[in-house]
Symmetry: C2
Subunit: 218 residues, 2 copies
Amino acid sequence: MQLQSLALAPAPAPVVGFDAESDEELKIVGAIKTYGRDEEVFAEGDRADFVYRVVSGAVRMTRVLADGRRQVADFYLPGDVFGVELGAERTATAEAVGEVMLVVARRAVLASDPAQAQKLWRQALGELGRCRDHLLTVTHRSATERVARFLLDLGVRLGGEAQIDLPMSRQDIADYLGLTIETVSRTMTQLQADGLVRLSGCRQVTFARPAALAGLCE
Amino acid sequence: MQLQSLALAPAPAPVVGFDAESDEELKIVGAIKTYGRDEEVFAEGDRADFVYRVVSGAVRMTRVLADGRRQVADFYLPGDVFGVELGAERTATAEAVGEVMLVVARRAVLASDPAQAQKLWRQALGELGRCRDHLLTVTHRSATERVARFLLDLGVRLGGEAQIDLPMSRQDIADYLGLTIETVSRTMTQLQADGLVRLSGCRQVTFARPAALAGLCE
DNA sequence: CGGACTTTTGAGCCACGTCAAGAGAAGTGG
DNA sequence: CCACTTCTCTTGACGTGGCTCAAAAGTCCG
């Protein structure tokens, strides 16, 4: 079964920016860089001179609270653009989840081209939409709903196959969903016990009954 | 005491958009419109042709889940601009919290002026930042922390006086903070019992010990 | 004053967090 | 290839913060 058909998000509204224009991707041409596991791409407070596109691997955007608790604001997967900021400074830290390959481009170069600038703008607004969806998920849903949603979303974003390799640890998932690592682990175990997914090693997830899994998300 | 000095958010980073430019506000010139309590300004799915600036009163942006639960994504107060969207359609509903006066402008008019368009862009990215902050607050903080933060933030945004009139109901606050109305109410009662705030009627809040209140937020 | 709505308060329960220990998995060096 | 360390994940037992259900008390307006 194609997972795509179970996508949680409604079909994207026709994008018309300011003047309705080609929907083609933001072109990022620049150097290829690679990062090792947990290596920082940039840190909160750095100058925000570059934007990035993920070629392979995954990147997490994190912020740390004063008391040490960590919030993973977002994961970026192959094809995703990240690093577009309002101000001159980074407001969050980006780290490689595993081995990552990125394309890097100067923000100024993109901004000088009006067409590209508009795509940057769309990118940012798209991110706002995702952030709001996530907010809704995290504030009003149970642990089971959150994990189910997360797995399905990841499945779609990674290509819609029935089996995915989680790039991130349980701790990353927990910090993203606003849960503890124990709750994430228990929930995954429960989903497997209910026959909704199969786990082969803790990083490989097979969607056994994707429709039922989607049903958990309302 | 000036509440401003206790602002939770770090001082806004120097804004340099694409080309560092004047930091003046987005100019919205257009018709003044007024809305009554709970009246819809626009609804999810509407065409997104206009942008708005709040003159007086307050507006809430809401989304409703399939099961009827409601998420208040944001409140807009006097001076705030809202209604900037990525797509052609509204992704959330905006309603007047009480009596509201708004300035309305066609989005197309703003967008045709590059300088204004850039301010629209900044506006959107600013909102993204707020959304992320809120996400962090809601996922990792206790009910007390959330309410304290909410009250202080509102205090600053409403002008930094030591006393504020809440424009919104307990239910609105609960839906914003991802809590129940009972928990919000109990928390406010507790804050009063602890001498951190004084409540005169349920809408009027006086910051009795703002520093202590800020202390609850880390 | 009366009715509708909002807020407060109370009692009980449950989902999730905390603390703790064990089981894999993965890397390291001999 | 195996011992050893280290890290991650799972599982269990228990406590608690916030949700649910229910009712009383305020508040607003006609």
